[in-house]
């Protein structure tokens, strides 16, 4: 039987295992640096060391999630006998021929490989966090634009509702929204039905405002959007897709909807505030004088001019969503026990912290580095976008 690996060789082996990630990272950086002058705001990230570090960290996890199947050394759900809470670098006992001979970052309380679970956890997080943030942004923008631009009663009502959600302690909301019992009542489906319609509305308004002067084009684009949008909508919200392409596990839907619900009011507030500022500018007045419709002004005059702060907030908010997903996992809400997501891994690991810290510390560092990367990226973007 071999001895346990030293820390040096553990890191070397992990680095070797992550080879596809390094290749992809180097390719991305080389290409982006080469053409950075032609890439607009994205290219300017590479002018700031902070932004570049952040981008590197984020892309590291994105590529890890993409190539997870090649990177993992063991089945993230597989339990091997004798590997319970084993220290990092331990050789696998009675290894099967062809299997990876070590548990690189040790075993957890159920004798599963911590390294493979961390890698698969990245996929779990990156599957939900960006998508949930995108939907939250569409909800926030679709409501924030008219609230800020038109004001009046509409603004009062939406602002009140969004303040209501913001005043709710997040954890209490999660405990109320993400329980198995709540699924029986259909509340998640109602919420999904309300929240998921906003992307469809947003895109329809966006294209209609742009192309309504040439009806054939408009009919084509809006028709396609409605066709695809409502198709996806029926599948995701009601699980009633006639072709069975779009569907979402009810557990996941519950988590997803709650995260979107918590995030949207924040986006709404930012958009509303910015619209109230931008609508006093001369180019908006010029647009009004030209006879542009309110939705055209909101979506094609104001929104593009608000993009800088929105992109920065988008990065920060993905990080915040990652933290929220971790919180859900930490309290064991809405995830299956085998799920390798970082929050629940930390939750199971924390009970044995005193004797075997690695099962909790590894995902903890993973989560921290991803959120740190997103924060640094947001900082770099903010710095660069302030330069114009």
């Amino acid at each position: 039987m071999d001895d346990a690996l030293s820390w040096g060789s553990i890191f070397l082996r992990i680095a070797a295992q992550l080879l596809p990630v390094w290749v992809a990272l180097i390719a991305t950086f080389a290409l982006s640096m080469r053409y950075k002058r032609r890439l607009g705001l994205y290219g300017r990230i590479f002018d700031s060391p902070v932004g570049m570090t952040g981008f590197g960290l984020v892309m590291f996890w994105v590529f890890t999630a993409i190539f997870a199947d090649w990177i993992i050394t063991h089945d993230p759900l597989g339990q091997l006998s004798g590997m319970k809470n084993i220290i990092p670098g331990s050789p696998v006992k009675d290894a099967v021929e062809g299997a990876y001979p070590y548990y690189l970052l040790g075993g957890d309380h159920l004798a599963r490989d911590v390294f493979s679970r961390m890698v698969m956890g990245a996929r779990e997080v990156l599957k939900i966090a960006p998508a949930a943030t995108v939907i939250a942004f569409m909800v926030g923008i679709t409501l924030g634009l008219p609230a800020g631009y038109l004001g009046g009663k509409l603004d009062t009502v939406i602002s009140f509702i969004s303040n209501l959600v913001l005043a709710f302690p997040v954890i209490l909301l999660f405990y109320l929204l993400v329980t198995p019992e709540i699924r029986v009542t259909g509340i998640p489906i109602v919420l999904a039905a309300i929240l998921f319609i906003f992307p469809v509305i947003f895109l329809t308004l966006l294209l209609n405002a742009r192309f309504f002067t040439s009806p054939p084009k408009r009919n084509l684009y809006v028709g396609l959007t409605l066709l695809f949008g409502l198709w996806a909508y029926s599948g995701l919200a009601f699980n009633a897709d006639p072709l069975g392409v779009w569907s979402m596990d009810p557990n996941m839907l519950n988590v997803f909807v709650s995260v979107v619900f918590v995030n949207s009011p924040g986006v709404f507030r930012i958009v509303r505030g910015m619209v109230m500022d931008i609508k006093t500018r001369d180019y908006v007045a010029a647009g009004q004088t030209r006879g542009e419709g309110p939705w055209f002004i909101m979506l094609w005059e104001i929104l593009p001019n608000a993009r800088g702060p929105l992109i920065v907030d988008f990065c920060l908010r993905i990080g915040y969503t990652t933290i929220l997903l971790g919180t859900l996992g930490f309290f064991g809400l809405g995830v299956t026990p085998e799920s390798p997501d970082w929050g629940s891994t930390i939750n199971y690991g924390r009970r044995l912290l005193a004797i075997a810290p690695h099962p909790a510390v590894v995902p903890a560092f993973a989560l921290m580095s991803l959120v740190l990367g997103l924060n640094l990226l947001a900082d770099g973007l903010r710095e660069e976008s302030m330069k114009d």
Partner: protein, 361 residues
């Protein structure tokens, strides 16, 4: 000013009513009530038995009426049993129905009975809020001076090496949620197999196996540096980074103002400029941020109390939510909502007081 405060209080009350109703509605959903009936009476009840148990214990009828009863603006329910005794929401066991009060909601001070702790909710709440109060107090004592100092130091000379280092520290702590920093701190300082404790134990510098204990349960009776350091640091770390960043932003802005340049040109020393001219103006924005940080601390408290097994407000909330203890959960949410709304109000009023440029009619 008075009108502004009154209007804010009006909106606050409306918000509080809406929020408590939402919590009431969510905790009183049919599946939750069914679970309650089964845990209170018998696990093997049939559906119609559940329905009649709920009916007999005042859970029947419209959710609005029950919310009114809970709030204390509707008369409590009463029922006459087959043997002629009158039971009701406001009638204690064995009490004569005629002497009982008509209204008994939270407005009358009747917060209900906790099914998990087998105690009146007021007692549970008083105990747990007391415990959390100490935690919050120490967090504030650590967090506020540390973060202001960090922010002022890095904002004083923007772009200097101190600024770069302190900003990196701040951004790292904001990227570390409590459950991550707590786990890392425990692994580092309170684990018998990892971190610095084994080294210290081998050297004979500490008597026990670990430097700090991994739980804060003993702090319920007696708060010491050793059992309180980890939970307080875990909550404070996240806030430190955030407030320091806000302070830095406002400090850098103040340092570019004309009056700072004038003071410098007059020949006032840098230290004097920072202390006398910049500091007060730079601290307006962080004040709002610190006040608005309270609701966030509430989140941190829930996580940290669960992690360190400290039986305060957050721990109680988790227990109540996990065990479907409706009365306790409602009381917790009332407290939480109250804290959030009051801090919002204070931050608005304080902002006006601190900033002479803002005048509210």
């Amino acid at each position: 000013m008075l009108l502004f405060v009154l209007r804010r209080i009006g909106v606050m009350i409306l918000t509080a009513i809406a929020l408590t109703f939402i919590v009431f509605y969510m905790t009183n959903l049919p599946p939750n009530l069914e679970k309650l009936a089964k845990s209170e009476a018998s696990v093997r009840m049939a559906d119609d038995a559940v329905a009649s148990w709920l009916e007999r214990n005042g859970y029947g009828g419209s959710v609005f009426v029950r919310y009114g009863e809970w709030l204390g603006v509707m008369p409590g329910w009463t029922l006459t049993d087959e043997d002629g005794t009158i039971r009701g929401r406001c009638i204690a066991n064995g009490q004569d129905a005629a002497t009982a009060a008509r209204f008994c909601g939270i407005l009358q001070g009747n917060w209900g009975f906790s099914t998990v702790f087998k105690q009146p909710v007021t007692e549970v709440l008083a105990r747990s809020l007391g415990a959390t109060g100490w935690l919050m107090l120490w967090v504030m004592i650590v967090m506020v001076p540390a973060s202001l100092l960090l922010g002022v130091l890095s904002g004083m000379r923007e772009g200097s090496r101190t600024d770069r280092i302190l900003s990196t520290v701040a951004i790292t702590t904001t990227a570390t949620p409590e459950y991550v920093s707590g786990v890392i701190l425990i692994a580092l300082l309170a684990s018998a197999t990892a971190g610095i404790s084994p080294i210290l134990a081998d050297a004979g510098w500490i008597s026990g196996k670990t430097l700090f204990p991994g739980t804060a349960t003993s702090a319920m009776d007696d708060i010491t540096f050793w059992n309180f350091f980890l939970p307080v640091m875990t909550i404070a770390l996240y806030g430190i980074g955030y407030i320091a960043r806000m302070t830095r932003a406002s400090m850098t802005e103040v340092m570019t103002q004309q009056y700072i340049r004038t003071a410098r040109l007059k020949g006032v020393g840098f230290r004097q400029v920072v202390m006398r001219h910049a500091l007060r103006n730079a601290l307006i924005a962080p004040f709002t941020v610190i006040m608005l940080q309270f609701p966030w601390l509430l989140n941190g408290v829930v996580i940290v109390e669960t992690l360190f097994n400290y039986k305060g407000f957050g721990w109680t909330l988790v227990q109540a939510a996990g065990n479907n203890d409706i009365d306790t959960l409602l009381a917790c949410s009332v407290v939480a909502v109250f804290v959030v709304l009051v801090t919002q109000l204070i931050s608005d009023i304080g902002y006006v007081f601190l900033n002479p440029r803002i005048r509210l009619a």
